[in-house]
Amino acid sequence: MRQFLRLLARNRLASLGGVVITGIAMLALITPLLPLQHPDVIDTAHRFLFPFSEGHLLGTDQLGRDLLSRLLWGTRLSLAVGVAAALAAGIVGSGMGMVAGYVGGRTDNIIMRAVDMLMAFPYILLALAIVAALGPGLMNALIAVAAVNVPFFARNIRGITLGLARREFVDAARLSGKGHLRIILTELLPNVLPVIVVAMSTTVGWMILETAGLSFLGLGAQPPQADLGGMLGQARSAMITSPHTSVVPGVMIFLIVMSVNLLGDGVRDALDPRLRSGALSRPRASTRVARQHAVPAPEAAPADALLAVQALETQFHVTGRVYRAVNGVDLAVKPGECLGVIGESGSGKSVTALSVMGLVASPPGVITGGAVRYRGEDLIGAPYARLRDLRGESISYIFQDPLSTLHPLYRVGDQLAEAIRVHHPVSRAEARARALQLLHDVRIPNPEGRIDDYPHEMSGGMRQRVGIAMALANDPDIIIADEPTTALDVTVQAQILGLLDDLRRDRGLAIVFITHDFGVVAQLCDRVAVMYAGQIVETGPTAEVLAAPAHPYTRRLIACVPELGGGRRELAAIPGLPPSVDALPDGCAFAARCDRAVADCRAGRIDMTGTGARSVRCLFPEEAFA
């Protein structure tokens, strides 16, 4: 709530609107208490007095009635009618929308077709027709304006309800014994209420304007009752000789509608969650780099490494908080090697992968230290043009969900051809031929038939093959695969893993394979690095690490995972949760969950120690290795 008000106050126009409409509303509220003349007292001797006449601050109208008094009473009435119409339209329209969206099927069809029919009539014509049928009068004008606005609410709220009604909490409520009416009122309504309020605040201005329009035509408030539209209508005949009689109510209508609309738009923007997180600002083309430490020396990286990540640090800076997602990660991968990076959610494995090519969204991401060396060249802080040349051409990515990484509106063949033509000046026909060959290489059956498919026409496994074909399009040296099989069924996963394994053997590709599954790592990867809270806690050849884990976290994580063939059993769980990366403890991040932790573990930074290929970040490793 406080954040909402802060965002609203930052929007100057909305604040201005808020101040103006609050002032007008206050005036309207205290009107009966003000020492005003009676708005309906006729004094024909003093008609058309100009403003600032004695006794009449704003002058008088064609019957000598005090304009100030009529203006305030009229504003009071117009505001009340506008708000009442908005409430009526909001309640009826939202009710219809929620019922239609929740019940669905035939009910939905009937309600929405009725709403469509209402919308098919021109706005003002429909209002006129309703007033004509009911007879003139303020109450009938109110009904007409409300009825005209019902479709807006019904359609909006139906759309939102439709999304909510399929959510699992609605099913859960039914199983808790709630009936349909109770679900609509107690489960759905609290979730759509903010939308209804916003929709009302953006439409109340229009409703006031429409009521004024009907009154102007003589169909709303009847004389001598004062309302803004009626005053304007009666002053019309004297517009040339006594313009102030029209200007006074006109300015008031203008002020009300403008300020309500400005405020309403401000409310809508301030409630938009995207604005709140700051995500509406477009991310930069590559991650911002602000190194806080010296760049690691290139000699420190293994000599034969194709890609070496050195002491990489990536943070997220969000509204005063610093989330240290990656804290000094060292990785290296040789040609033809597959390196597994394993960790739980929030361990920083994906952020490490994205940092390599500067793909972490910025803001809020910042690379604060380290180096990423591709064939010796540091990519952190490299110019964007250089990164763009390398992306896809030398280092490419495979992501978890190919449905969200492939463009839904282009055929897969065209997307592959485009990826090729970005880096290589080849003809369309040649690019298409290569796209076909790629689909063949990733073992898509009948590639000639599938090349013109859209992504949604393919199964998950086929889409991920296209994702791999995309990654292979420009013959990269390195593929970074971020959980590429997590969304797939096991039988399909086995095929994709087999494909990746063949590709790296045939083409000498280096693969960095990010996963949370030990079984996958064991089958595919030569070496493995285990991550916890943004650091690598253990690394070594896969078979050795799995057979004899040195870090307590690795050992216990392996023990957590049931393995097929083990039969029915109690699983060894790790108590507690990983630390939040905006409040990392001193020393070992795992100490709080570790049964071997002593005071030294919490004292300060613990370095990787080890010999040869294996190393571990632990003072008391499980096994001493020579």
Partner: protein, 319 residues
């Protein structure tokens, strides 16, 4: 042992709207007639890949989806077309996505109170006592009760989801992928909790998952679904070791296992048959290395292979 749940020829066909001139078209058969029984205190694992109908099946069991045919009996009482509220007292559901199964605008207390008030008509004091008891049994601190769902991690939210299901005091829990959205270290915590709750409350579980190793670790018997039909059912310790049906074997061979070399199991394609135009014989025949003409014409029936193991296959694996 008594029977907790008996399902007889339960099936679901989703109707398809006919075209303007075409009249009614045949529906999509999501679940073909399925029959089995579960004994009190037993855990029946249900495995299958995406599109095999396991979620449709689970939703029918708890009354969220009316079946097209067949019967559901819980502790001897028929419950096929009852209201979810009547099901709710007997059988409850734990959802896959713990966060989306909790209403974001309700406190945990409000969520837990609903089944107590509506299904059991408890008064305020009684409710508070019962909520405290259930909350304690899922290892959550009582001060969490007045917080909102977004303040919880996935593992905590799933425990709240389990607490809500337990609040209805059901006899059977249907667990639909209850740990697949969780990290492995948290997954083990929740699985162990489920095992303990089963003993404490004398529950019967139907445990649905795509993860064979998890299913094997928690189940007494396992049922394998493919394309809406049961292809094999047997004891958990033997079904993946000695599968009879080629599909069960394919599943077992595909699961990544430490120490087993990587090889893609032999199969032709990985696509499911078109549900709008199902093949006449065995649904797996298109992918099966052992398929013959018989498989492509006649649908195999579930038949006993050995004690406690049934498979629907014309050419099952022998020992």
């Amino acid at each position: 042992m008594t029977e907790a749940l008996r399902v007889t020829n339960l099936s679901k066909t989703f109707p398809r709207a006919g075209g303007l001139f075409a009249g009614a078209r045949p529906g999509v058969r999501a679940v073909r007639p399925v029959s089995f029984a579960v004994e009190t205190g037993e855990t029946l694992g249900i495995v299958g890949e995406s599109g095999c109908g396991k979620s449709t099946f689970a939703r029918m069991l708890v009354g969220l989806l009316p079946p097209s045919g067949g019967e559901i009996e819980i502790e001897g009482r028929r419950l096929d077309n009852a209201d979810p509220a009547r099901f709710g007292k007997m059988i409850q559901y734990v959802f896959q996505d713990p966060i989306s199964s909790l209403n974001p605008r309700k406190t945990i207390r409000q969520i837990l109170e609903a089944p107590l008030r509506l299904l059991h008509g408890m008064g305020r004091a009684e409710r508070d006592a019962r909520i405290a008891e259930i909350f304690d049994s899922v290892h959550l601190r009582p001060e969490f009760l007045d917080r909102y769902p977004h303040e919880f991690s996935g593992g905590q939210a799933q425990r709240i989801g389990i607490a809500r299901a337990l609040a209805a005091a059901p006899r059977i829990l249907v667990l639909d992928e209850p740990v697949s959205a969780l990290d492995v270290s948290v997954q083990a915590q929740v699985l162990n909790l489920l095992a303990r709750l089963k003993d404490d409350f004398g529950l019967t579980y139907l445990f649905i998952s795509h993860d064979l190793a998890v299913v094997e670790a928690v189940s007494d018997r396992v049922l394998v679904l493919y394309f809406g039909a049961v292809v094999e059912i047997g004891r958990a310790e033997s079904i993946f070791k000695r599968p009879r049906h080629p599909y069960t074997r394919l599943l077992a061979d595909s699961a990544p296992v430490v120490g087993r070399p990587l090889r893609a199991p032999e199969q032709r394609g990985s696509e499911l048959p078109d549900p709008l135009d199902p093949p006449p014989g065995c649904a797996f025949a298109g992918r099966c290395p052992r398929a013959t003409d018989l498989c492509r014409t006649e649908e195999p029936r579930l038949r006993p292979m050995e004690e406690d193991q049934l498979a629907a296959c014309h050419h099952p694996f022998e020992d």
